[in-house]
Subunit: 398 residues, 2 copies
């Protein structure tokens, strides 16, 4: 997801709130990664309620809960996550095994390991409908595993035999609500539900799939904690995912687990106290932020002539009790002119991720809408200034 972060060191504070230097007309705005710093203002309002204190002797052991299949999962985090899903009604947690990971990134790889067969003659194909999250390909391919191999766009997949299909809903990069597309008997599914939260999309029903992945990063904005969780129906699969995390990192940071439990506790309490749609509840507040950003962005795009955005239907949201439309964490922007859109935007000092990384054409880019306010506004200003063919220049690309 982060791409070549170290190559963007001159792109400053858009993605690095700890080093605020202020943005100038020369600043590069990095909207390549989905760094969710937009939600920081809500947590600042909560003040000390969210402060986590960890003493020198807390959590020294590798073990969190030796009686649990996922022996490195802190019980208080498990409880908080179940409470969160019960509050939001976005996933079934009853009779599921929970596996915690170093972000849902590690859990995706744990799921590939768990669903593949070490004694198989052939590595299992991994597919996802294009446009697909660019990191799936990279995570599947980087170690040249003999267990699994990336096979690209699920819509074009026609090989017989077992396969793994990743279903991302809402989809990263384009925000679409998705279902599996291959639908063959030997298919195994991983549902990546990182963005299935009220600030991004209407919650139409509790998700109920074999393997569901969620992440603290996208639910509350705490990306630095690297906490993800999987809800898994099958015990053997959950055990193999746990084994993967044991071999790759001997569990998951206890400090992050304790802090995530604390913050989710405050979030759940505020939902009860303020009501789900109230701007003092986290989801009410964050939905308000996302709605405003999408309104501003749609205005700029409407006036542009050359850009377009996906449209999202209004759906009934069980959480807010209202008809709402999706406000995804990324804009999936299309340029109607024949151009390499990522390069065009880079010439305007806006870093995005081009369509080819997602298995489609170069007329698309994915743009993070989760940056801090200043970066978002400067991005809109620069986007407004792009006026069709005249602006497209190969000179001075950064």
């Amino acid at each position: 997801m982060v791409g070549q972060a170290y190559d963007t060191k001159n792109s400053i504070s858009a993605t690095n709130p700890t080093k605020k230097v202020g943005l100038s007309p020369d600043s590069i705005i990095n909207l390549d990664q989905g760094d969710p710093t937009i939600f920081e203002s809500y947590w600042r309002k909560m003040g000390d309620k969210c402060t986590t204190k960890i003493s020198g002797t807390d959590c020294m052991s590798y073990f969190s809960d030796v009686g649990n299949l996922c022996w490195f999962l802190e019980p208080q985090l498990s409880d908080a996550i179940k409470g969160l899903h019960r509050t939001v009604c976005n996933a079934v947690t009853e009779d599921r095994y929970m596996v915690v990971g170093t972000g849902s990134t590690q859990l995706f790889q744990a799921a590939l390991y768990a669903l593949s067969s070490p004694s198989g003659n052939e590595s299992i194909s991994v597919v996802c409908a294009a446009p697909y999250y660019s990191s799936y390909k990279e995570e599947t391919e980087f170690l040249q595993s003999g267990l699994y191999k990336w096979a690209g766009d699920a819509s074009a997949f026609d090989k017989d035999g077992p396969y793994i299909e990743v279903v991302t809903s809402p989809n990263n990069p384009d925000g679409a609500i998705r279902e599996a597309v291959v639908n063959r008997e030997e298919g195994k599914l991983i549902h990546d539900l990182a963005y299935y939260w009220p600030q991004y999309t209407p919650i139409t029903c509790p998700a109920d799939y074999d393997i569901m992945l969620f992440t603290f990063s996208k639910s509350t904005g705490h990306a630095g904690s690297r906490i993800g969780w999987a809800l898994v129906k099958d015990k053997v699969v959950a055990r193999k995912m746990t084994k993967f995390i044991e071999v790759s990192s001997i569990g998951v940071s206890k400090e992050s687990q304790l802090r995530a439990a604390k913050i989710l506790g405050v979030l759940i309490e505020n939902c009860k106290h303020f009501g789900t749609a109230d701007s003092n509840s986290f989801f009410g507040y964050s939905q308000g932020l996302m709605t405003k950003r999408w309104e501003k962005l749609r205005d700029v795009v409407k006036n542009s002539q050359i850009f377009s955005l996906p449209k999202y239907p209004k759906e009934w949201c069980n959480f807010t009790g209202k008809y709402t439309e999706s406000h995804p964490g990324f804009a999936w922007l299309k340029c109607k002119e024949e151009t390499d859109f990522e390069i065009l935007l880079r010439s305007q000092k806006i870093l995005t991720r081009g369509g080819e990384r997602f298995g489609v054409g170069r007329q698309y880019v994915r743009i993070s809408l989760l940056s801090q306010e200043e970066a978002f506004n400067l991005f809109l200003e620069r986007l407004s200034a792009i006026k069709g063919q005249g602006i497209i220049s190969d000179e001075n690309p950064l």
Copy 2:
């Protein structure tokens, strides 16, 4: 390292200080893993000085330091680690790149990735002299990577071409001070220095190798934090290790990094304040604990007739300014009788790790000496009761 922790759920508190239920004559003592809870008492003495407070808005971003090659490394952790090595004089940090990992376990895998070649026709061999740390084999093999393959005992390795040799010093499981054994031109070395700290072994010189791995678990006993670090000479290697951690988990828990920085800060301060060998300094205290355990263990072994332990020479320790001998975190115990030693001990409700996992014979076991006091004492009691052939029984193995 943890093995099948979820299968040992009846082995209770020896490895799980958060669930103290007390040990009874029926309790299974789990000394399979090296869970370093022995040092908890020191950190309890330090009281609030080690408490880390993390507010709801701290460290929300993926990024810690965009100007650094390892962009997810918190600068305060980097500073504390450099301060620690300067204090202990156990490793050269000048002109090195530092890469933080989710334990040194993740960094070992990052190093394999960094030292192998994606375009190579053949996967690179990974070797380590037997007895070798059992997890190296598992970590190298579990994904059936096409980049690298486990080739076993370095002493028996005679294949031409590039290879990776892991040098563990002091060695896990047997505490020996080691150097590379293959010594051919196309070799690349990973030095695992997890136990190169004054409580385990004399610090004879600052280590100065291409890739050096350390871990918070074994230096201070904070295994639950999952913090390791690598000191790397070559920029390209450090960049590839960083890339591995980016793809596998998008960085490392910031909460753990902040807490590790805090605790290392207190440790360094106490070394200055109390003097290195003083029992109020961490290393003075922990060296005292390890020395006592080894004395008690050697007494039992001396009286046993059938067991033996390695001997360690006295060496000058630059840190304490004394001649000291090694007191490793594991006992590498040999049974002189023809038996499967792991099964023999299991019949006495002592869980250990048998020699075959380390590439040698079944007459050896590795026993953690880092458990809590109660478990250690009960272990000694049970070990003393084993009196040669008569005790060896196949009845009632757990």
